[in-house]
């Protein structure tokens, strides 16, 4: 009996072209668009300043500074002084007089945080050149002191070891987009599931099934299995889009650092949560229009709150706390941990447990509502 019901549900879903578009094509397109669109916003390596350098000193040290700046991909040296964001002037006698300052002329449109970033990055090269000059100067007196000075690394990455709160690593555009739209796409089963459910109720097929001794538990289970399978297929298709398709658009490919089993775990939890919510909406709605509207709105709201549309790490703290209420956020956190860190099935268990609990509670409430509606003649 269950096999027949599962087969029937799969036939109905796969004959609904709009549902298939919403479940598979829509999230894949979102992944592509959002990964490419946010590529630069999420990349910390791609800060690029155009600068014009006037070397008034013309010494070995000033030439070394110039050479370091040319090698640094964050700087784009230009000969066009008027259009440069920064004009850097190395004054005369800069090498000889350590009290001399490099002057920076900044265009009005440049913001303070950009100026600070520019100064910090420029300092690395000036200091490196100065240390190299000092190393050469002390060489004839002390080889050891010379070696020490030349080995000094003043790059910020060498000076600071940054640890993020809760060991969170910031994702790149693909790492953010893929899990976000996987989660959103999985919850989109609300639309086909509730439409089929409401139609069955309206067309009395559920009553007919009930008259054929099909229990509410069997109805719910047989509807859940096909959508669980669809969700699992969705996850792997979207991951494949992130790994293989996104790089074609000059955007970093999705890298998976955690375990595959952990992906299965979070995908299972998410699917049960999505099925629970979808079933709850389907049994509560009185028409397919109502189900589609409520389903669509709740999906968008949960997505907006849960960090799908706007990444959680750029939200203010109060919004981040609010995000914790959305099951989409639990799933997203789980996937981000798997993609960014070497998360195992054990380390994402908390997210899985929350999703599983949410889904099972929603399913139990749905079955109670359906039982009541059947008793009342639907």
């Amino acid at each position: 009996m269950l096999r027949a019901m599962i087969k029937k549900e799969l036939l109905l879903v796969f004959r609904d072209k709009h549902a298939l578009m919403a479940l598979f094509v829509m999230p894949a397109i979102f992944i592509l668009i959002m990964s490419v669109a946010m590529r630069d916003q999420f990349s910390v390596k791609n800060i690029e300043f155009t600068l014009y350098v006037k070397d008034s000193d013309k010494t070995e040290m000033s030439r070394e500074i110039l050479s370091f700046l040319k090698e640094d991909k964050n700087f784009l040296l230009t000969d066009d002084k008027t259009n440069a964001e920064f004009v850097v002037v190395i004054p005369k006698r800069y090498e000889k007089n350590s009290k001399k300052k490099v002057s920076i002329n900044v265009q009005n449109s440049i913001k303070n945080d950009q100026i600070e970033a520019f100064k910090s990055m420029l300092s690395e090269h000036i200091l490196k050149a100065r240390f190299n000059f000092m190393s050469q100067s002390v060489k004839e007196y002390s080889m050891k002191a010379s070696r020490t000075l030349s080995s000094l690394d003043v790059a910020t990455d060498a000076l600071y070891k940054v640890k993020y709160n809760n060991s969170k690593v910031l994702p790149n555009a693909t790492q953010q987009s893929v899990p976000a739209w996987i989660v959103f796409g999985m919850f989109f089963i609300i639309i086909p599931m509730s439409t089929i459910y409401v139609n069955e109720r309206k067309q009395n097929t559920l009553t007919r099934l009930n008259s054929m001794n099909v229990s509410v538990l069997a109805m719910t289970f047989s509807k859940s299995v096909p959508y669980f399978l669809i969700n699992q297929v969705q996850v792997w298709i979207m991951i494949a889009v992130g790994v293989y398709l996104v790089p074609f658009f000059d955007t970093p490919a999705l890298s998976i650092n955690g375990s595959v089993f952990a992906i299965f775990e979070i995908a299972t939890g998410l699917s049960i949560a999505a099925i629970g919510l979808s079933t709850l909406i389907a049994v509560s709605a009185s028409s397919s229009e109502q189900a589609t509207t409520i389903g669509g709105i709740s999906n968008i709201l949960l997505g907006a709150i849960g960090g799908v549309m706007v990444p959680k790490f750029i939200m203010p703290e109060s919004m981040q706390k609010l995000a914790e209420l959305s099951p989409m956020s639990w799933g997203l956190d789980g996937f981000l941990d798997i993609f960014l860190t070497a998360a195992t099935a054990t380390s994402v268990f908390e997210d899985f447990a929350k999703l599983l609990t949410f889904g099972l509670v929603a399913l139990i409430i749905s079955m109670i509502i359906l039982q009541i509606r059947i008793k009342k003649g639907l």
Binding site: K8, L12, N204, I374
Partner: protein, 291 residues
Amino acid sequence: MVKISNLTKTYGDKKALDNLSLEIKKGSVFGLLGVNGAGKTTLLSILNGLIDFDEGSVAVDGLSLRDEKRAIKSRSSIIPQHLAFYENLSVKENLDFFASIQNATKQDYEKAIKVNSLELLLPQKASTLSGGQKRRLNIAIGLLNNPKIIYFDEPTVGVDPKSRNEILDSIKEYKKFGITVVYTSHYMNEIEKICDEVAIISNGKLIEQDTLENLLSNRVSDKITVEVMPRDVLQTLSLELLEPTLIRTDAIKLFETIELLNANDVPIKQIRYGSTNLEKHFLDLTGESDA
């Protein structure tokens, strides 16, 4: 086959069924008549185990509905008024699905197709069927479990006359298989055509139950109708006019009525005793006009 005793079902303050008792004989085609809201659908839903009842008892094929609902469900089938199948599946896919749900035998599966003449429609998508073909599919699904009793809830609503006759003919066939049929319809002529016995219910109460023959015979009603030639004076006389030329009276007043008509030169065409058909009898009993 079905024994209903003192059945009561209430929805809030409204009694949908009020102390209803009736019996349905095995192998009969039983007509259930009543206007909208009379309690027909509630009764069918209870008999199918779809909804619970408050008081009374129901036995189907010797089994108590309260205690053996699942067993009763597997022996019965309901043909709902609304088309209860999947429009996006083919006729065959629908039949296969409902057959699997009920563990139908190959023999019953083929019988359901044959009786409802669905052989050539099997590959067709259900949504593309005509109204009559959809009704036949709806009925075929109900036959898949080889039921001992089958309930038809107004199965010919919105069906063209040709398809209606085909459906009625197929229902007559079930009698050959020994299936008990309970049939509700708004169309009295359908009940007259196929039913052996009829129950009339109104406001959840049984008004009358008898064989169709008895209901239509003279003895069930003392009402008499007098058909006369059209005359203007009829409107001024104190007579109960059913139609401009049809007067209703009874045995006691008949002589008085004839005298009055003669006195006013109204020629009498014919005098009919009892109800002329089931519809008139139904209206007599329930006082309703929208059935």
